[in-house]
Symmetry: D2
Subunit: 366 residues, 4 copies
């Protein structure tokens, strides 16, 4: 499997299983001179920590990151940054039963088909713990982006049938509720919905939304490596994501051109778009408007609810997945979405530096 | 711009502008021994030809492909396959006005911002003609996939508000109507809708759907290079696509786990999924069920309808885009979607060959 | 075979066989704004043309390059540049015999082993004509490098036992003798040596040397992607090259540290190396001194001299390769070496732009 | 810096500085099912340990490797294998002086030029300790190759003027002498030479040679990604290597075709080469003969001998580098060469699996 490295110039090489010794990432290609400490990373990691709300799994995890290389006297040196989060509280005994059958909605079956066997403990490599590495790398990317005035805001847009109301949108509310919604009323309603589902031994899906402001124009390459195409891959590579949208997304299929097109106008001496149906890209390049994307997450596949499946002996059985599983994936995945977006944008910013000979010459003639 | 090469092992390197000398692609990594002729490619290219229906642009194009290398005595040799479609009927004179302003919904503005200037003739590199190269490469990929029993069926799922009815789904109908819909009644209704919009000087969006059957299980890598992530990038890299779905897609955000999970059962001695909400992948690997994906295409941005924009002199103006433009992108894009899927799948099939030591040993001990 | 694409940011995708329809290359990643015409490319191609001297094959080739894309109003646009040289004078009939056996020193045998069959006409993909594509791409890279004050000088250093005398080094002489040697006396002696060998139905080896001046310091990445490592790959990828040296090369194995180390000293307020045993790199990064590399080319494998080999029927036979073959590869390969160096350096220059956060910020704050 | 990842399908992502917390590597793309333990890695690492002979630095290092992921129940799972060697005995205090000037022959100057500052402790990222990560990854690659019957033998071919005598070649002797020479008399003579040089406060260069047996034919891609080109990059990427040779190497520049060409003959029903001047590749693909390559290592740059250099204040000074430095690099680098070769070959073996459609079909129809 050669699928655990992300990026072209800013590259994150991740590793680790749910119940192995730890999870980590090596970032190769981070520019030198960024002030970086473990606190910068930890702040991001804490946003995906379980046990922050009554809806999340009460499993106690101590996800403390350690930086092993690439930082000297408080600054990145331009060499690979290795970060690790050791697994402390894992008990393999919990998972003996799971080894014997294929959990619906999980990668157990495909892992066995592809590799002949699998590390069945807690989902192994396909566990949600894999995202720790994405977030650690994403924290660096996001800190870099801030140096260029680029900010990423990510939140839960909907949970099951409960959507946020943009009239009540308050970004300060996001961190205040355990569902990371920017609308406290929606958060409350969603909480009730989740409780209902938990009582029914079921789980629920939801949607994350991400808004990037401050992007320079022209980032992204024009054919296969469009900025939106790279974002699509970044987002759909997150486990449980089944749909990706930019701007008006799937709704454009029902739109008409005179409405969907974003006209241009001069504002304060600058060319600006009059609307943002496109979601911040034109022809695969950032257009100066905010980048707006959405990801649809399926319901947590591990549920107490009885399900039909097959065991290793080739017998039809029914199972009920016990253990401490979140009934909803989205809130803890919000920071994962943000991280994947950050990794994608910083890579685009880097590649874009070679787009024009005149600017390259200025760079080398400085 | 380093964004015109697609793939890791089966790589397509495309080139060409709308009004340059031609459009083409070099395929590097095609296995040796595939019977291949220009007819194989031409058949695919003809599916994206304009002028096939009253809704498509009447512009006469002679998109004849020529294979320049990589085929010897009717078979691929394992060396790069260069294919070219020369541009014959382009007249640069048509586009002088367009050079002076930024067309809403087009890449004119971002191209200028990124590169300092642009080939303004007919959209240049961001023209729909760019997809000729994708389709030429895709035709080879699709022919390869057929050798493994993998078939791809792609069609128009909806146009504006008109959706196909799966009860009336007939794949034989697809090629028979100019909108490539598998439901002739829907095709008729969609045709009327398009005519209405044309009269209103407007354009319409739509959705393409693609179903892959015969995929072996286990294709795709488990973290960043998930099969669905790669498909997302492939599809969103097509101009005008604003949303990507696999399986239940965006709808999973409202689903509950007990319904969304696909249970397993033994059927004829084989493990099978009881449903296919997942759309053919689990944990980023193909799961043996059909792969089902969708792409939402925005309405054609070039419309006669008046639009606000800005000219090069920095003045607010209104424009009405004349010329022969399709009022709808989807039907001609159906084969582009199919091509990008084929390119992605063959690459996955190749990379998967190194997944297991025992199978690698068998391969080399043959 | 996925081996015909070179580079990371400035990428050359080459194609074509000796006796196919043509040979070409697509350059993806060339920055926008470079003035470029077919003459720029042709000038480079002419340096590898056969028939320029009595030692080279008298075969008449019309290697006229055509640019098919990526240039608009005389400047590169940032989109892929497709270049093609059509094959005009190839006659397949010449090569029917060669199909029946394996030529010693050629890729006939390995091609058959790898791919099951081969395009046997004139060496197919492994013909020297493949280098046309390298040179066409290299011409663009070299023109780009000149914008940064980087010049590459390449010449024949030795032919068989005849070496140039650095006391008599005159770069103006290089283009004046058909062996591209910077010492006219050596050129004359080498010419006599070649004539002797031709009479003996034999061929001779030789060495090319390349000196790069004007390189900024710090180009190259510090571990696997060292500038010298990338140059080594670039050079050894040229057919017939069996050895690569930078600076003192193989001789360092006999050197002692106190002599081999290049001391530093201040000169005109700048840090300078007192000698250049290293050949212009330290720790994989350019150090401000000229880059000096050498490539050893084996003798042309096609010789009239009788050789033992095996035919397709599995019989031991002896062969004498007829046809018009150069008795020496180096002179025509000089421009190929230069091209591969240029491709490698421009890629390094591009990647280096992301090395430092402070300079990236300056770039985006301009 | 994006230069710390090696390989295309079998990828090693390395990290770590001499005096940081540790050194490590993540291997992404290792096939599932290889039996692997820390002992497999440790055995390789021990071969590069210092303090094994009187010539090597007496610095006591405890280079114990730990596998953090990718292995389950004693076998690789197909997921990334993270390995780490923590640094224990490093004392930063040793290196305060070195921060103030540029050591000749080291990367100090280029690091500062590229990144603006450097981790000056013990060479930082450009320390010899970086190779620990290469060897850990190489140990896995070498173990994989053995499954295919491929063996790599690497040894010291020469030290200063002392070369091995192939008449006395005994591979069993290699591990018995601290210089890793396959000729005990040469080893003794070389030892005396080194002692002389140490007394003169100087250091010496040398050459490593590597022979690969059991390679299948056809491994390697035919144009840029030739097997020999990839080996050249692999070898020259090792610090202190200034020259690379395959087969007859630089000597081919003086050879004539009738001698240099390797004829073919039938032996035991198989096509065989009558000699191996080529060193095991033809046209960039393995030809069934042993692969023979050589690397020239410069003398250790850190010497007690006085040298001219420049300090940070821009003053000309002379320095004498104290500390425990090996007077010769080659012996400890032998296993690094072997590791880089192993990494390159396994990658080639993997990519080659997609070369032929018929074999791909067999693979998937099993």
């Amino acid at each position: 499997m050669a699928g655990s490295i992300y990026g072209k110039l800013f590259r994150a090489s991740t590793w680790g299983e749910s119940h192995g010794k730890g999870v980590g990432v090596v970032v190769d290609g981070c520019p030198a001179g960024l002030e970086l400490s473990e606190e910068d990373i930890q702040g991001y990691l804490n946003r995906r920590k379980p046990g922050q709300s009554k809806y999340a799994t009460p499993r106690k995890e101590e996800d403390c990151v350690e930086i092993l290389s690439g930082v000297f006297e408080g600054k990145t040196t331009g060499t690979p940054i290795s970060m690790v989060v050791m697994n402390h509280t894992q008990r393999s005994g919990d998972y003996s039963e799971i080894a014997s059958y294929y959990r619906p909605g999980h990668a157990d079956y495909t892992f066995d088909e592809k590799y002949g066997f699998r590390d069945y403990r807690g989902g192994g490599r396909s566990s949600g713990r894999e995202t720790i590495a994405r977030v650690a790398a994403g924290a660096i990317a996001a800190k870099l982006l801030k140096q260029f005035g680029i900010e990423i805001l990510t939140y839960t847009k909907s949970i099951g049938p409960v959507e946020i109301d943009y009239q009540k949108f308050d970004k300060n509310v996001i961190a205040e509720n355990s569902l990371f919604m920017p609308d406290s009323e929606a958060a409350e309603a969603a909480g009730l919905y989740i409780e209902d589902m938990m009582r029914a031994h079921d789980s629920v899906g939801g949607m994350a939304e991400c808004i990037v402001t401050g992007m320079p124009t022209g980032i992204g390459e024009t054919v296969f490596d469009k900025l939106d195409a790279n974002l699509a891959k970044a987002i759909v590579s997150i486990g449980a994501v089944k749909g990706f949208e930019i701007g008006d997304g799937m709704a454009v299929a029902k739109a008409i051109g005179s409405v969907n097109n974003d006209g241009f106008a001069m504002k304060g001496g600058k060319i600006t778009k009059l609307s943002n149906h496109a979601g911040g890209t034109l022809g695969g390049m950032s257009d100066g408007s905010p980048i707006v994307i959405r990801a649809a997450f399926k319901p947590t596949p591990s549920i107490l609810h009885e399900q039909a499946t097959v065991n290793k002996a080739g017998e039809d059985i029914t199972v009920s997945i016990k253990g401490r599983h979140d009934p909803i994936i989205v809130p803890r995945a919000v920071v994962v979405v943000e991280s994947m977006v950050a990794l994608t944008l910083i890579d685009g910013l880097m590649e874009n530096m070679c787009a024009r000979l005149d600017l390259m010459k200025e760079f080398y003639e400085r």
